[in-house]
């Protein structure tokens, strides 16, 4: 027995030194190496981060598994369902800063996706657009929604059209039909209230849901050209058209066309109420057919959808895009791009049940999703304006939601709300 004898103190001391060294080396573990430091390194592993709902996550996993089988990859799909644009980007950002971000992530376009491109966390996909000819396969307007400062940082696969989704029984009970003008919409609201049904189910927690009503009112009072200029800060908000929109917004609440206490309610609770008949309609996108109507085991025939009437030409609706970005630090960019190409194939898009695909030939199945299909037809004739929480950065959106909130609580007059909005937008425009 010639081995070294270890004392208890010696072992404890050595352990202490090793742990200290490990701890201190962790403190200085910031790497400047941008290559291959994503979650998957150079292996065959990929990770996708998304916010698919429980109703659709299984379909995505099936299609990813199919890709894995054909390409010898192993892809993990993580989802944060129902979190919305208010929460999901935080989680994504935290993962990216932690150094183990996903190889691919789903994200909204406009100002929600922009920070990832600006910070160069998202890869420039131009080489892959060329390699897979995405430019000729994907809707050009949608690509523009994920192009930031001329860099194609995302691959859009979903384009949403936001409009009215209504319960036919509630409309019949009140004796109203689909309105073709703003005046008719107001009349319909009065009749619905008289029939004991809350007309419009939108909610104010987070701000973005009730915003869909205000942006419509602004499109209606200002018209397409002025609305676009207001969103970009090219025209002042302190003007009669905006005051009218704010006055109408307040009127919707005062005349009880919105749920009582709408400002404090959660959209997740309020939006599906039209399916239950507790409200007559909501303002939302085509995903509601799969997520709210069919999940409640109701036939689509009991519901209808239409564009909110503005009285302007062209008749526009609110819309936004969603797509995928590839981690600039991913060691597997080529495989990630191949997976994206697989996901935007028309057959895959159909299998995913995408109700608003950006890919030609992947329209929703008319038999299974008749109302979503209707929106595909609407989108062919009617352009969309950028939904306001994608037109403004998050901070300005929240300030804008604050104005909405103060107006509805009577703390601000419509004219003051218009002035406040001008202050917010002009301050932001100066930083652009």
């Amino acid at each position: 027995m010639t081995g070294t004898t270890y004392t208890r103190r010696g072992i404890l001391g050595m352990t202490g030194l090793v742990l200290s060294a490990a701890g201190l080396s962790a403190c200085t573990g910031v790497s400047d190496d941008d290559s291959g430091s994503g979650s998957s390194g150079g292996s065959n592993k990929l990770r996708v981060f998304t916010y698919e709902d429980n109703a659709t996550i299984g379909l995505l996993k099936e299609q990813v598994a199919k890709f894995d089988q054909q390409n010898g990859t192993t892809t993990t799909v993580d989802s944060l369902p129902g979190s919305g644009a208010a929460v999901y980007p935080d989680k994504l950002r935290t993962e990216l800063l932690g150094g183990a971000g996903p190889d691919i992530w789903r994200i909204w376009g406009g100002q929600i996706g922009a920070p990832y491109a600006k910070a160069k966390q998202a890869a420039d996909l131009a080489p892959y657009y060329a390699k897979y000819s995405w430019d000729s396969k994907i809707n050009q307007n949608a690509i523009a929604g994920m192009t930031f400062d001329g860099v194609k940082s995302g691959l859009p696969f979903f384009v949403a059209g936001v409009g009215v989704w209504y319960n036919k029984a509630a409309f019949a009970k009140a004796g109203v039909s689909v309105p073709t003008s703003y005046a008719e919409l107001e009349e319909a609201n009065d009749k619905l209230v008289a029939a004991g049904v809350t007309p419009c189910g939108v909610a104010g927690k987070y701000g973005w849901d009730i915003m869909r009503l205000f942006e419509y009112l602004l499109e209606q009072s200002a018209g397409p050209e002025l609305h676009d200029k207001l969103l970009s800060g090219a025209e002042s908000w302190d003007r009669p058209e905006v005051v009218t929109a704010f006055a109408n917004f307040k009127k919707w609440q005062d005349k009880k066309w919105l749920p009582d206490g709408a400002l404090g309610l959660d959209p997740a609770d309020v939006e599906p109420m039209y399916v239950q008949g507790k409200t007559a309609y909501t303002i939302t996108g085509q995903w509601t057919e799969a997520v709210a109507i069919q999940t409640a085991n109701k036939p689509s025939a009991e519901f209808g959808t239409f564009q909110l009437p503005t009285g302007h030409t062209p008749l526009r609706h609110s819309g936004f895009v969603e797509g995928y970005m590839i981690n600039a630090k991913s060691g597997n960019k080529d495989k990630a791009a191949a997976l994206l190409d697989h996901l935007v194939q028309p057959d895959t898009q159909k299998a995913l049940g995408n109700t608003g695909s950006t890919v030609a030939g992947a329209e929703p199945d008319k038999a299974k999703l008749p109302l979503s299909y209707q929106w595909t037809e609407i989108a062919k004739q009617s352009p969309f304006y950028t939904i306001q929480d994608q037109a403004f950065p998050k901070q300005q959106s929240d300030q804008y939601f604050s104005v909405q909130s103060d107006l509805l609580q009577g703390k601000l007059a419509p004219a003051d709300a218009a002035k406040r909005m001008q202050d917010i937008v002009s301050a932001w425009a100066k930083t652009k």
């Binding site: 030194l17 200290s20 909130s405």
Partner: protein, 303 residues
């Protein structure tokens, strides 16, 4: 001379134990440095920058973020909300917890069941509590307004979470509900440790119930008061999740507190430098508020 120096070294070693204690302390110290000191110093540094929280680059802006805080109206609102929150959610649960503990310390029937009932809210996830109370407060379908209507108080029904005037108070109610059980348990344990002889002697001397409470119970509960107060204070400064999940800081910014405003800036507005400055201020205030407690504990130990 050499002998004197050697003897001083030996004396020092005897007094401080030489290197050996440090070797034993090293693992814990390393963890402490890696997970507390380093992140704290790093946060302090980033509070002096304009880092957006995503990009690789940033500029050092000195005390600009701290100066901007003074001009931020939401910071003023959040600080005031924090103060209200701290006072209410410390005082009310302490008083309720003590009252329940005194009642349950007597010969109440079904004591274990009641204790469990009062403590249960404290173990529920805060997000679940936020959802439960969100439904309770629903102006049309919620139990709170339904109960008011049922007893003929229709005039008092409110959109509780949907207006500035009631939103903060409405979020404090679930906070009180979930935080009452913990002081109750601590007070119960402390009450059971008070010798019965003291009460018997006082009763024999003709002391009334109130006199026994103020002159025997309360002085004996002093250590429990300190613990409850210190833990409640820390809990109150940490307030974040309940507000975030219940009102998301709204309506508007009516229920923002420093914690949520820090989070909004760091994680949503991409103002990591500014948000970190808010975090530094929260930490400094929390440390300052904790000093009297630490001093009192030190004095008590010394005496």
């Amino acid at each position: 001379m050499a002998t004197a120096t050697a003897s001083l070294a030996v004396r020092k070693k005897k007094k401080y134990g030489g290197l050996t204690p440090w070797v034993f302390a090293l693992p814990g110290l390393a963890v402490y440095i890696a997970f507390l000191v380093y992140p704290s110093l790093s946060s302090l540094f980033f509070s002096l920058t304009d880092w957006d929280g995503l990009s690789a680059g940033y500029h050092v802006v000195g005390l600009e973020n701290y100066r901007a805080m003074a001009e931020d109206p939401v910071v003023t609102r959040a600080a005031l909300n924090n103060l209200i929150w701290t006072v209410v959610t410390i005082t009310v649960p302490m008083v309720l917890g003590l009252t329940l503990a005194v009642l349950l310390n007597g010969k109440a029937r079904g004591k274990p069941l009641l204790r469990m009932l009062f403590y249960t809210p404290g173990v529920l996830p805060l997000v679940s509590i936020a959802s439960i109370w969100g439904w309770l407060y629903n102006p049309d379908y919620g139990a709170v307004n339904a109960a008011l209507r049922a007893i003929g108080l229709d005039g008092l029904t409110q959109p509780w979470l949907g207006q500035n005037s009631t939103a903060l108070a409405a979020v404090m109610v679930p906070a009180i509900w979930l935080r009452t059980g913990f002081p109750m348990l601590l007070y119960l344990a402390a009450l059971q440790a008070i010798p019965r002889e003291q009460y018997e002697a006082a009763t024999a001397d003709g002391a009334t119930r109130s006199q026994r409470f103020w002159h025997i119970t309360m002085p004996n509960l002093r250590p429990a008061h300190y613990i409850v107060l210190a833990l409640s204070l820390i809990d109150s400064f940490k307030v974040f999740d309940l507000i975030y999940a219940t009102t998301y800081g709204g309506p508007g910014t009516a229920t923002q507190v420093m914690g949520t405003w820090m989070y909004f800036n760091v994680f949503q507005y991409y103002h990591a430098g500014y948000g970190t400055a808010i975090a530094v201020v929260i930490t400094l205030v929390a440390v300052a508020a904790g000093i009297p407690y630490v001093l009192s504990q030190t004095k008590e130990r010394d005496s």
